[in-house]
Amino acid sequence: MKLLYFAWVKEKIGLSTENVNPPPEVATVAGLMDWLAKRGGGYAEAFTERALIKAAVDQVHVPLNTTINGAREVAFFPPVTGG
């Protein structure tokens, strides 16, 4: 599964993209955030304020309780500020 990070999420983690293989018990976007936060450091810092982070699965905005079963690409980012 490919992960992408944007804006300050990317800066805190120090990566824009990486490939991961989460264990089967990591079933949702929120579960994936918990699993990543356990790595500590920038991951823990980025995922501390859960309310500030949005997610997309396969390039579609999703709520955090969305399943990641079958997902090819999961992205984490702050609320968008374009326009």
């Binding site: 992408l4 944007f6 804006a7 300050w8 990317k10 997309a56 390039q59 579609v60 905005h61 992205a75 980012f77 702050p78 609320p79 968008v80 500020t81 374009g82 326009g83």
Partner: protein
């Protein structure tokens, strides 16, 4: 017709609008919106400080897809002849156009409404993030609750 361009290059809004008008001779009403980069910091952090530059990060692929989807939704809701959306990414200078929306319709009502709708949804859905750069440093722009409320007005 719908055209969506997500590009790094600067564009000339006047020229784009002229081309858009010329290609829609049947349309009596054309509404346009230009979003340009301010030259001062607008967030709570040291509000009003001058800005020298801005970087727009975007999620390539998803950005084009989200804009195409909201453009399609605009065409479902109103009878439009043509719709153009251009959005920059990368480095932007004060005064540069960041976004252009142009809507062609038979009359003004539909053109105005669709143009406002496209911008309101774009502000909350299109994956772009602004980082403002000034003498006092660089900071990510924070999303505004008022933008969410504005977008929610169009919920059916």
């Amino acid at each position: 017709m719908t055209t969506v361009r997500v590009q790094r290059e600067a564009f000339d809004p006047g020229r784009e609008i002229n081309t858009f008008c010329a290609r829609n001779p049947i349309s009596g009403g054309i509404a346009t919106f230009i979003g340009q980069m301010r030259d001062f910091r607008g967030t709570s952090r040291s509000a009003g400080e001058p800005l020298t530059a801005m970087t727009l990060e975007h999620y390539a692929g998803m950005a084009e897809r989200e804009i195409a989807e909201l453009a399609a939704e605009a065409k479902n809701r109103w009878t439009l002849d043509d719709l153009l959306v251009i959005h920059r990414f990368g480095d932007v200078a004060p005064g540069d156009a960041i976004v252009l929306v142009a809507v062609a319709a038979t009359h003004r009502g539909e053109a105005f409404a669709a143009c406002a709708f496209v911008m309101d949804w774009l502000k909350t859905k299109a994956p772009f993030w602004k980082k403002e750069i000034g003498a006092d440093g660089a900071a990510w722009v924070e999303a505004r609750t008022s933008d969410d409320l504005q977008a929610a007005k169009w919920d059916k």
